[in-house]
Amino acid sequence: MPVVDGVELPETPLLDELEKGPWPSFVKEIKRAAVESEKAMKAGKKIKLPGAAKGLLKVLELSYKDKRTHWKHGGIVAVYGYGGGVIGRYCDLEDKIPEVWHFHTMRINMPAGWFYSTKALRAICDAWEKWGSGLTNLHGSTGDIILLGTRTEHLQPMANALAYLDKLYGSPAPFDIGGSGSDLRTPSACMGPALCEFACYDTLEACYQFTIRYQDELHRPMWPYKFKIKCSGCPNDCVASKARSDFAIIGTWKDEIQIDQEAVKEYAKAGVDIEKQVVKKCPTGAISWDGNELKIDNKNCIRCMHCINVLPKALKPGKERGATILIGGKAPFVDGAIIGWVAVPFIPADELIDKCCEILEAIWDWWDENGKFRERVGELIWRVGMSEFLKVIGQKADVRMVYAPRNNPFIFWRELQD
């Protein structure tokens, strides 16, 4: 058995191959947790789940050998007052590797934009070293802080540690559990106005407001299936909201792109080929450049961001800002993968949060009543039709909702029938 710093580790010849190479290694992380938690325990620290990381090494080495998972689902686990946020996970080797027989995940709601002070992160580390495996994912695909692996009886103490993280561990604020199951999943946002000059609305505040207003929906699964909200400050969509959320809020503008002609000339002087890199790449041919002045035909511009991306000092989104809402984005399960499509072409930035809440609540009532088990809202819209959905959210059909009108004239004129 290999011994590191006086700690015995299991033989893991296959996993050891993944310690080689220049990219940071997750195997090193698991080994580090195994070694350091044992050392910390020997030094007198309280660690309630000794050997968890070592156990994970053993299970994972077996999976690498057997080419299959050794985890199974089974049994609902939860913390007080909540129906989601914890994912029950058990090892199918049961008593052979008792350290990880239970190995539940806890999802913790991250701060909007994934900004942290070290005080907050250290506090989470101290609590999780004590009550769990000491292993995390920063972050899960939805955006939560993922705490990877603890036993059923430690779930509530860990939830309490987080709820009193300020008092017990010196964090600047407590942390709450995130979403899982058929509920509102933890909303996420791009860094927006915190760092990015392209942001057309306050993504962090919007994300925070949705999260706070809908704590009940987030913590108590009661819907047909999951529902995700993601906030991107501009059409670059850095949080992939179009594909990864049922309700994507994408910053955009309505008026003219702001141009600083001097800055354009400086870019040209510095070697940017404005004709080739900007004019020719505009999808609508809306830009012209005579070596002296850059002109944009804003009637033709589709706000794709390309020219602004290339010339960030010279071009800016317009001043009449707001967001487009796309509805229905989701992964393949059940009816195939889709990207969200336009539900509301434009909401001005200063009305955005309240208007979104109004629409969200209308959608949830409708979906809750009409959705089948495991039917995402996009799939329900396919089943009953987009025109029904538009009534629910109080929108009129708009040509901006489609690439093109329909092909077939078999239109149902229901309102004319007796």
Binding site: N109, I124, G329
Partner: protein, 376 residues
């Protein structure tokens, strides 16, 4: 078991608290970010991994980005915090693709920071791009849990990601690509990672229906809830034999039944594997968002380093990088050269597994505008 005196921890005595929500982001912001919130003027790429952000006030912040393995021990997170305390006034940020960023005010600290992170953590500086020059780096691979923590994976996640990034390391630390390229991995077709709009996606695929172990079903499963879990109606109860019957033609290998019932495992070491999809994109820049398309239906699981998957991804990436024009993402490049040329250049085989799409997505969907790009 030796009886121990039970001493309660404070966490075990406190009243549970609910519904107070996450910390407000404002207390997590570096002072320069807080002071210039919503007032950033422009950015400039200093070198791969380092973006200089200039505010209207004249304040300057250097944001320095490093790749991480996503799976982090609390001990490494503490090291990251030590570095943030030393260089970044006690603040830091994670990105949506599992990178970590520090905020510097003094440009002279950039090189020492990069060195210290490399020595203490082994995390590479990079993952950025310079749109002005049209030179792009590869960013981190988003991925799911795999054999580390999920019960339905058809492949591992972290291991393949590590093997691929080892091979593509120089693309992360440098700006050598003609356009953005997002690589993603989901360990089964449920796609928790929602990788279906990535330039290159690796997706774990099961190819055989669950194996029903009647004995185990009787012992461990509730039949009605198992049957109800199947989204395609492939399962029927067999009340007489107290088990379930599976219609092989209806099954989409999703593993939902296994979630409910440990008696019908979906995994299959020899038949599980990895499909490769390409040409998805999400930003509206130049070309509308696109779903990824399947170009390799199956590659074997070959742990610990999945050489077939790594080489296929590398081949696709490098063929594109050599042939694409500036700003042409994979979707745009294939749009210009055609799929016939794509298969010719990459040497991938076109088979009947790549045609006849999954039939459940309705036609009406294809008319909807999947983009925020339109005229006013």
């Amino acid at each position: 078991m030796v009886a121990q005196k039970v001493e309660k921890e404070p966490e075990e005595e406190l009243e549970p608290k609910t519904d107070f929500g996450p910390p407000h982001y404002s207390i997590m912001l570096h002072p320069i970010i807080k002071n210039n919130y919503g007032k950033w003027k422009y950015h400039e790429v200093v070198r791969p991994g380092v973006i200089k952000r200039v505010a209207e006030s004249g304040d300057v912040l250097y944001v320095v980005r490093f790749g991480s393995p996503r799976l982090l021990s609390v001990y490494t997170i503490r090291d990251i915090c030590d570095i943030a305390d030393k260089y970044s006034d006690g603040y830091l940020r994670f990105t949506s693709r599992n990178n970590v960023e520090f905020f510097l005010t003094d440009p002279d600290k950039i090189e020492p920071l990069i060195q210290e992170v490399q020595e203490k953590l082994g995390f590479p500086c990079g993952g950025t791009w310079d749109a002005t020059k049209g030179e792009y780096g590869l960013t981190n691979i988003v991925h799911t849990q795999g054999w580390v923590h999920c019960h339905t994976p058809a492949t591992d996640a972290s291991g393949i990601v590590k093997a691929v990034m080892d091979e593509l390391y120089d693309y992360f630390t440098d700006h050598k690509l003609p356009a953005l390229c997002r690589i993603s991995l989901a360990c089964c077709a449920n796609m928790c990672g929602a990788v279906h709009a990535s330039d290159i996606a690796m997706v774990g695929v099961h190819r055989k229906v669950p194996k029903i172990d009647d004995d185990a079903v009787r012992r461990t499963c509730e039949i009605p809830s198992t049957v109800a879990a199947c989204p395609t109606g492939a399962l029927k109860p067999d009340m007489k034999r107290k088990t379930v019957i599976l219609d092989k033609d209806k099954c989409m290998y999703c593993g939902n039944c296994y979630t409910m019932c440990p008696g019908m495992p979906i995994f299959d070491p020899e038949n599980d594997g990895v499909a490769i999809l390409v040409a998805g994109k999400l930003s509206d820049a130049r070309y509308p968002p696109q779903l990824s398309k399947v170009v390799v239906p199956w590659l074997p699981n070959n742990p610990p380093r999945w050489p077939e998957v790594v080489q296929t991804v590398k081949k696709i990436l490098e063929t594109w990088a050599t042939h694409a024009e500036k700003y042409e993402r994979i979707a745009e490049w294939i749009h210009r050269i055609g799929w016939e040329r794509f298969f010719e250049l990459t040497g991938l085989e076109f088979t009947e597994k790549l045609i006849e799409d999954y039939h459940r997505t309705p036609y009406l969907y294809t008319t909807f505008r999947t983009s925020a790009a339109f005229r006013w």
